[in-house]
Symmetry: C2
């Protein structure tokens, strides 16, 4: 079974300009996704999908492939459906795994576990999710609990939140849906792969950029011993 | 209208031992909630509710009141319903706001805004929530989107997640529900107050403790200018 990685990375990001080549804790944001893909050891090929030659340059520096997407798919309006279809039409594989560069905090081990789950072949689409063990409402109505009693959060049935850090598609199913004009993003049988919330942080704003830098910093920090008030 | 703050803080925390007096970035965890309550300028009184004399000592050091809960409400099994009822029976007020010490990252300004919302008096219970603008599933079924089309996350109707950083109860309604043996935690008309996700982090595990330290660190960091790959 051939499983390849695709990392979509435009130069023209809007909320955080040029975020893919901006340095996060000293390293371009995009490089995290590239290294996570490579270090997972789970892929037959790793590709960066971009319209930008500069980003292509960075991909090559990191030793992975550069798929230059056509100009008409490089704008704000290009959907995931569109550029993934174009990519899949150019690259043979059984499954494609998309790593989102805006989720740099994931661990290579998590990527490897995700790919093992995909490799089982039970699903056409596999979504990375965070399980929310918390009382949730939708349009004012409780989803996973009753207001008639309070239960411990860990005993709730979790609401499952899609995080787009990792997404896998069976090539054949995706292209069939796309050719029928159907939404291929959620094509066929859906599987869910839970990942820890601190690996799922998605960088879309300056506040999240700062948060991610804090988490990276905290990971490097010495754990030390716990200290307590009033004790020396 | 009299609005008072209660900060529940046991000594016998389980997953993180003695977490309330453990130093987080140099300051006891409990002190964050105390300072957030005091610095919000929004409360007529601020109380720490605990069975522990040591925690009482810390409360007094910080210049706030110490409500010593009875021994029978100090165990693992004591519910929020139970100790809040006992507290409310001892303290007159219109609304009680509970600040959770395991959410130290909230800003005093957010606490002040929350109390203004409570003061409007439209609700019996006000819950702090994080709005999740993401595709969510419950028991495998989509909650807030359709798999027939992908829309931008910011255009979704959010799923609303209760975070327990801040909770407000109208005293009268709470005590009426409690005296009828009903669940007072969700008593009467429910209101929702959204807070930013990075202020909502709940510390329940060592991993979350470390995450919170990272965020506190990042907040202190100089923003500096953005730097980019290939530019000097």
């Amino acid at each position: 079974m051939k499983i390849i990685a695709m990392i979509p990375a435009r130069m023209g990001s809007k909320r955080i300009p040029k975020k893919n080549i901006r340095l996060l804790a000293g390293k371009p944001l995009l490089q995290y996704a590239i290294e996570n893909a490579v270090n997972s050891g789970a892929f037959d090929e790793v590709w960066v999908n971009s319209e930008s030659e500069v980003i292509g340059e960075l991909a090559k520096c990191c030793g992975v492939g550069f798929h230059k997407r056509p100009a008409e798919l490089s704008g704000e309006r290009a959907t995931n459906n569109d550029f993934t279809r174009e990519f899949l039409e150019c690259h043979e594989c059984d499954y494609l795994v998309m790593l989102n560069p805006t989720s740099p905090l994931i661990f290579p081990e998590t990527v490897a576990d995700f790919v093992s789950f995909v490799r089982d072949g039970k699903y056409d689409t596999v979504l990375s999710v965070v399980e929310e063990y918390a009382e949730c409402f939708f349009c004012g109505k409780p989803i996973n609990f009753s207001v008639d009693g309070k239960v411990n959060s860990q005993d709730l049935v979790p609401v499952v939140k899609v995080v787009w850090a990792l997404t896998a598609w069976k090539r054949e199913t995706f292209l069939r849906y796309a050719s029928l004009g159907r939404c291929a993003t959620f094509s066929g049988e859906l599987g869910f792969f839970p990942i820890p919330f601190d690996q799922a942080v998605d960088i879309d704003t300056e506040a999240q950029w700062k948060l991610a830098e804090g988490i990276l910093l905290a990971r490097k920090m010495d754990n030390g011993g716990a200290e307590y008030w009033g004790e020396k």
